[in-house]
Structure formats: C-alpha cells, structure tokens
Amino acid sequence: MAQYLISVLDDTTGSATEAEMAAIGEFNERLRAGGHWVFAGGLAAPETATVVDARDGNPVFTDGPYLETKEYVGGFWIIEAPDFDVALPLAALASQRCNRRVELRPFLSA
C-alpha cells in the first residue's frame, strides 16, 4: 500500500457551495468504504499562517504565509492505494466532487 496526498488548489478559502460539500461528503464515504481513507481536512486562509524559523534555536515568528501565490492549497486528502493507477481515478473523482483542480502526490515510501 502506498499513501498519496490529494491537495485541493483554490484561490479562496471555505468557498465550497452546499452542493459541493455534499458531493465531498459522499466522496469521503466512498473512500472509507473502499479502504482508501486516511485523513482529510480543509485549511484556513494563507493569511492566517505563521512562519516559524527556529533553526538556530531562537524562534522567529513571521505573520503570514511563506509563499504569496494567487492559488494555494485549500484542503487535502491523504489516501491509501495499492498503486498509482488506483489513486489516479480517485484523484479525478476528488477534483470532480469538490469542483476544483487537485494535485496528486505520492508520499516518500517508508
């Protein structure tokens, strides 16, 4: 089994409509039923981010995101699948259901 990250690309936060939320809920059920579910969640806006740099032992906190981009990761799924060809159609379904573009990325295998 391999794990994959499906991240949702968006330019606004919490912008899913009710219909989209319902479709996402159904998709989550399907992931659970198929044994693919690991975790999923939506993220608050990038402006709420805090960049923390404590590499030299003196933490510095910076208000705001590390990268300023128009589009960002608005939420994500972590799924489990035997191989890429199982993960890919799930990512396609994720994109369709949440009505956003998504990025599919494998985790480094342990």
């Binding site: 391999a2 699948a81 191989d83 890429f84 060809d85 993960a87 890919l88 990325r105 494998p106 480094l108 295998s109």
Partner: protein, 406 residues
C-alpha cells in the same frame, strides 16, 4: 567479427524490448532493467566474438542481464536488498491484464498518461525501442544531458508515484491504448516531417522505428482495429517517402510525386490492412479513417484519377469522429477538388489555426487558384515564416516566387 556485429544488430532490434520488459517484471525497477540489459548487450559483443553466437541469443541476454541485476541488487543497501529479493523470489505474476506480455506492460508504463508527452516518447524509444539516449536527443533536437534528465525524471516518477507495471484492465484499455498510439504516431510524424529546419527533411530511422513498434503492438493486440489502422496509415505514408523530396531537397506535394517511385509492397500491405478493418464492419476510429484516405490516394495511378468524392466522404466521417480545425482544414483540400476553391476557402477562413503553417499554405494555394495573387503571396509568406521543415520551406518559397508580378 562482422557476422557477430550483424547478428547483434538484428538481435538488438528483435530482443531488446523483451529483455528489458522481462527484467522489469522480475526485479520491479525500470532503471536497473535498462542498465543491465545494456550491459548484457555489451558483454555479448565480447563473449559472442570469442565463443560464437549462442543458440538462443535472447535467452542468453536475459539470463546475463538478470544475473547482473541480482549481483547489483545484492550490493545495494540491506533494506533495498531484502525488499527486492522478496520480489524476485516471489516472482508472482501481477493479476493478468487483457494480454500477459511483458513488452506490452512496458509500453503501457512508458506511455502512462501521468507522464509528460515528451517523456512518454523518450521513454518508449529508450526502453521499448532500445535507442540510445544520444540518438533520442538527436532525433528530438535536445541536448543529450537534457534528454537524459527527462528520461531519468520520468523513471523516478514511475518509481516514486507507484505507477504500476501492468497492462490496463479491459475497461481502461481503450482509453490507455489511445495514448500509446498517439506516442507512436508522434514518433512517426517527427520522422516524416522533421520539425527543425537544420535537420534532414525526412528521418527514415524514426519512421522505421515507429512502424516497428506499431507492428509489435499489433502482434500483441491483434484485435484492436485502431492499432491496425495506425499501422496501415504509417505504411501507406511511408510508401510515398521515396517520392517526397526532390533531388534539390524540396518537398514534392502529393499531386506532383512520381508515383512509380512509391513502394508497392508497403502499399499492398497497407491496403490489405485497411480492407481487414473495413471487413470487421465496426465503426472505424480516427486512424482507420486516415488510413482509408491514404488508401484512396495510393490507389490512383495518376493524381488526376484520385477519387476525390470518396476522400471528401471519408473526411466528413472523420469530422464526426474528430471535429478539430486541422481535420476541417484537410477536408477543405478535397472540397476544393470537388466544388472549387471558393467553396473550400469559405470553409477554411476563420479556422482558429493562425499559428499553423499548413493553414496558411492551404489558403495560399486556394487564393492562387482564384487569381488573388497578392493575398496568396501574403499567405505564402506567413506559411514560410511558420514552417519548420527545410524541404517544405523550399517548396513554399518556389510557389510564392512563381506568383511573379502579381
């Protein structure tokens, strides 16, 4: 020595893909599979020269490559070793796809839709075709280092993303085979009309390789009529290659080609394949229709005997399957022969193909036939600007300059 070289060249052509594919299945690593196969061929040069060619060269190569792969993996880290050894010992066949052939798995892996199209082409030529990285780089006008990176990156992605080494299931097969055929057709077209003005206009090595790989796919999937259609299309196109460029390096258009120079054997084979497709009675796909169009052209002893109404009917059919502006542009050429240049021009005007040289070349020819020389000249200029192929540019220049005082 010469004999061994000749045998090696032939065996390389026939066995490369099989050895890489077998190794890839048994050790689960495309990178190692490819490197060890290359090493086995290098070893063969020495051994076969000294000891003679073994009775079964393919088996000798597979065994040698496999032993080297095992040695190599043993030298790797402990964890990797355990993992791979487990894989090797088990040697469990994957759930069987539609056809259980290692080469077919290899082709589908190389042409996976999650890889960039250029990477699919490069990987297919390298792993299935057995071309060297410098050869592929030369064919696609990329620096060797860049091509090497492209191939490495694709192989890394296959490994890291867990792209399986498998023939798709029956349900997924039609969608995936379309991508495979597109890659093979891209390779063929790059050979047939090289995109770079600095290269020779026609690259027989690439068209030959594309045909060889398509033949291979057809032996593996004999019932897929689009595969047959693509092979027929390639053969009927390749048949005209000897007549396609003049002694002075200028493109010779279909109507002006010396038809006695066409390869009759390839035409006969192509026609037989087209007939076989038609005989199935199933609705033809894009490649079958294109092959049928080429069959009509190659059927005519003289350009004037071309059955244009049949060509136009086939294009009508193609428009329904693939309503792209390029298909409509090509259809207009047949329309011009049947209904005259005015009708054809009306259909061509406004197609969203301003960046495509053939669009301007077609307009130029139509305008010329209508006596609108000034506009034709402008269209030729634009076509010349956009055309990448040296023979094509030479042809367009001559046509433009013939307009004379207009």
């Amino acid at each position: 020595m010469t004999d061994v070289r000749e045998v090696l060249t032939r065996v390389h052509r026939e066995e490369w893909a099989r050895v890489v594919a077998t190794l890839a299945r048994r050790i689960g690593d495309l990178d190692v599979a490819e490197e060890m196969t290359a090493e086995a061929f290098a070893a063969a040069v020495e051994r076969w020269t000294a000891d003679g060619v073994p009775p079964n060269p393919g088996a000798w190569l597979t065994t040698t490559a496999y032993r080297r792969a095992v040695d190599r993996i043993r030298r790797e880290s402990r964890r990797e070793e355990k993992h791979r050894e487990a894989l090797m010992l088990a040697d469990t066949p994957e759930p069987l796809g539609v056809i259980d052939d290692d080469r077919l798995r290899l082709i589908f892996t190389c042409c996976h839709p999650a890889l960039a199209v250029e990477a699919r082409v490069a990987l297919t030529l390298r792993l299935v075709g057995g071309l060297t990285v410098p050869e592929i780089a030369r064919a696609y006008l990329v620096q060797e280092a860049a091509m090497s990176r492209r191939i490495t990156r694709a192989k890394t992605k296959i490994k890291a993303a867990g792209i399986p080494y498998r023939v798709p299931s029956r349900d997924d097969l039609p969608a995936r085979i379309t991508g495979v055929l597109a890659v093979l057709y891209l390779i063929f077209n790059e050979g047939y009309l090289t995109s770079d003005p600095a290269k020779e206009a026609v690259r027989a090595d690439l068209t030959g390789e594309a045909i060889r790989l398509t033949r291979l796919v057809r032996t593996l999937l004999p019932d897929d009529h689009e595969v047959t259609g693509l092979l027929a299309l390639m053969l009927l196109t390749e048949a005209r290659r000897p007549a396609r460029v003049s002694a002075t390096g200028e493109l010779v258009v279909l109507a002006e080609q010396d038809r006695s120079a066409w390869d009759r054997d390839l035409i006969a084979e192509g026609h037989a394949l087209v007939r076989a497709c038609i005989a199935t009675g199933r609705p033809p796909g894009r490649y079958q229709i294109l092959a049928a169009i080429n069959a009509v052209h190659t059927d005519a002893r003289d350009a004037r005997d071309t059955d244009w109404s049949q060509v136009a009917a086939l294009y009508d059919h193609l428009v329904r399957v693939d309503p792209s502006p390029i298909v409509r542009l090509n259809r207009a050429v047949a329309v011009a022969e049947l209904d005259g240049p005015q009708v054809a021009l009306a259909e061509v005007e406004g197609l969203p193909l301003d960046g495509y040289h053939a669009y301007h070349a077609t307009r130029a020819e139509l305008l010329r036939r209508m006596g609108r020389g000034g506009e034709a000249r402008e269209a030729y200029d634009r076509a010349i600007e956009l055309a990448g192929n040296s023979a094509e540019t030479a042809y367009l220049r001559r046509r433009r300059d013939q307009l004379g005082g207009w």
